[in-house]
């Protein structure tokens, strides 16, 4: 089977766009796992809630206006409001449902997170209805041709925003004081608190950042996939896989894992000729493969258990 180069580039761009969405969501999982060693199953549903808030703000601000500058401006405002709302939601959830369980047996917070996920998903359905809603483009989304390769402004927006956010986050964690405190907390909570780090604050901050990033991913993806109460479910699960593949607890790993998953999913369907229906099998098969070869993920450091 021969596929022209331009088509390959096209699929690569599509894969990267999908992958950067996965990466944004994966960051939330990986940051929480890095610090609390627990899988925040409600992360995908926080994304849903954030997206709904964004959609409401957006449509509310626009009203009947057709002024393109105003539409673009309200999109930016809506995005910020969505980020803030979902960040606050994430912090509240941690405070109410996870913090009391920090010393509980390992499975207890997991079940609690599942409970929160069920609550959020159905709350979204109850408040906003089960029908999927359109998230209109804030700009003219006609394709830009570039030789045989086409790209939409929406794809450019996704790539630009996620890349920028990832770089900012990486810089924040690696070079700021707060980021250093975060890394210390993930290494050892007790020692970190002895060094004068407010561990509870750092954990709240982690949830704040992770949930805000999820809202960005939600709003970005909603424009082409609509908004509905269960939108966070499968996206969350796949992003989680991306986090594991990249090495859970590792921020660069989540980015690489997300991009890799997106590209592989696109290429698996088009280039390897795997039927569209088996797209999810690619993701989960890749997960199991990576776990068998290198359980700690691509960027993860393997630890030896000492007795």
């Amino acid at each position: 089977m021969h596929i022209p180069l331009s088509e390959l580039i096209q699929h690569f761009i599509n894969g990267l766009t999908l992958g950067s969405i996965y990466a944004l969501i994966a960051l939330g999982y990986t940051m929480v796992y890095g610090i609390l060693k627990f899988i925040n199953f409600a992360h995908g549903d926080i994304l849903t809630m954030g997206t709904y808030v964004g959609l409401m703000t957006y449509t509310g601000l626009i009203g009947t206006s057709t002024n393109p500058t105003w539409i673009l401006l309200s999109f930016v405002v809506a995005m910020l409001v969505a980020m803030l709302a979902s960040a606050i939601l994430g912090v509240i959830i941690e405070r109410v449902a996870y913090r009391p369980l920090r010393k509980a047996p390992r499975l207890a917070p997991l079940i609690s997170a599942i409970g929160v996920s069920i609550i959020l998903m159905n709350l979204a359905a109850l408040i906003f209805g089960t029908k999927s809603r359109n998230f209109p483009y804030p700009f003219d989304n006609s394709t830009i041709n570039w030789g045989a390769v086409t790209i939409t402004p929406h794809e450019i927006l996704i790539l630009a925003v996620s890349l920028a956010l990832m770089i900012v986050l990486k810089l924040f964690v690696d070079f700021s004081r707060m980021g250093k405190a975060m890394r210390a907390t993930s290494l050892d909570q007790e020692v970190a608190s002895l060094m004068g780090i407010n561990v509870n604050f750092i954990i709240s901050l982690t949830f704040f950042i992770g949930s805000a990033l999820a809202a960005v991913a939600g709003v970005l993806v909603a424009m082409s996939y609509k908004v509905y109460p269960t939108m966070g479910g499968l996206a969350g699960l796949k992003a989680f896989i991306a986090a594991v593949v990249g090495g859970i607890g590792n921020i660069s790993g989540a980015m690489i894992g997300g991009l890799l998953l997106g590209v592989l999913e696109t290429f698996g369907v088009v280039v390897l000729g795997i039927p569209e229906g088996y797209k999810d099998t690619i993701a989960f098969g890749m997960l199991i493969l990576v776990l068998l070869v290198k359980p700690s993920g691509i960027m993860g450091k393997s630890t030896r258990e000492k007795v």
Binding site: K37, I39, V96, A97, P100, L101, A104, P105, L107, A108, P109, I111, S112, I114, G115, V116, S117, I118, I119, M121, N122, L123, A125, L126, L237, F240, I241, V244, I248, P275, G277, Y278, D280, T281, F284, G285, L287, I288, L291, L292, P295, E305, V307
Partner: protein
């Protein structure tokens, strides 16, 4: 109403088999598995395909359903059981998704999203066990619940059970004591999935149909919730967990307020119950009996200190 109650009891029975079998894997062996619904699906589909396409009797199909599900358990277990802790959980999560994905897409065998309708009723000595006549089916399910309970209770009190608990408490120490941890973990996985397959067979026979959408990740999680809520590592706890979760999810219908509240609100209530229960009872309702070291307990310094306040000290521990 009496029909609705017996329906609840039948579901509680099927879920009790599931939670007891998952308890062997999660509670006794300490392996977090997130793909129990996949084994249930394999069992249900085995029964449905064998009974519909090959006109096999229910009794052979339930046995084969167990065996096929058990083999699937080994299939996932052999490569992944070398993983530790959370990584194993994630691998099983992936496996569960793959099974559901394959069932949806393998049209020639499973009819894909349409599911398999018209699964025949089970017969016994020429008598038909009709799922619509609830008490007949109740006896059938009750029989298998009792069988599962007795088998698991016997197994966990044997050498196998002690080996599994040793692995849960400390895998390295267990291996040092000469327990082949990989062998015992595989056995636990295969046994657990065998009984999940049995439950799947009952599921198919009771609903007289199977649909791929039923066996999703959420169902695996629901079964896990039963095990954790009831208390890890206790058979009665798993049964209790199944009773509570089924009742909690049907509570509005039980007290007759379904007309007033929406299905979403019902789910929210269910989620709240999970969160609240975990906050107030993080290690489950029934807690495991502490291992009894008999007269050797006196030899350890902790034992002498505890002395008369032994009971008090025991309750403080999680």
């Amino acid at each position: 109403m009496i029909d609705f109650l017996s329906l609840l009891v039948i579901y509680i029975g099927i879920y009790a088999i599931l939670s007891m079998s998952l308890n062997l894997i999660v509670g006794y062996t300490g392996l977090l598995s997130l793909c129990h619904a996949a084994f249930l699906a394999v069992g249900a589909y085995t029964t449905a395909i064998l009974m519909v396409n090959y006109h096999m009797s229910f009794w052979w199909s339930i046995l084969l359903a167990g065996i096929v599900a058990g083999l699937f358990g080994l299939l996932i277990g052999l490569p992944t059981l070398r993983l530790s802790g959370d990584y194993l959980a994630i691998a099983t999560l992936g496996f569960g998704q793959i099974v559901q994905n394959v069932i949806i897409n393998w049209d020639s065998l499973t009819r894909g999203p349409m599911g398999i309708p018209n699964v025949p009723m089970p017969t016994l000595f020429g008598l038909t066990i009709n799922p619509f006549v609830k008490w007949e089916f109740l006896i059938l399910v009750g029989f298998f619940v009792a069988l599962t309970f007795l088998v698991f209770r016997h197994l966990t009190r044997s050498r196998l059970g002690r080996a599994l608990e040793a692995i849960r408490e400390d895998e390295i120490a267990a291996a040092t004591m000469g327990i082949s941890t990989f062998k015992y973990k595989s056995v636990a996985f295969a046994l657990g999935s065998f009984f999940a397959g049995i439950a799947g067979s009952l599921w198919a026979a009771y609903n007289q149909s199977v649909f791929p959408g039923t066996f999703d990740f959420n169902l695996s999680v629901l079964i896990l919730c039963m095990v954790v809520l009831g208390g890890l590592g206790t058979h009665w706890g798993s049964v209790l967990g199944a009773v509570i979760i089924v009742l909690a999810s049907e509570l509005p219908r039980l007290v007759g307020i379904t007309d007033i509240i929406s299905p979403q609100f019902k789910q929210i209530l269910f989620g709240l119950i999970l969160v609240v229960m975990m906050i107030f009872r993080p290690s489950g309702l029934l807690t495991r009996r502490k291992p009894d070291f008999g007269r050797y307990a006196r030899l350890s310094p902790a034992g002498t200190n505890a002395g008369g306040t032994g009971a008090g000290a025991g309750t403080v521990q999680p």
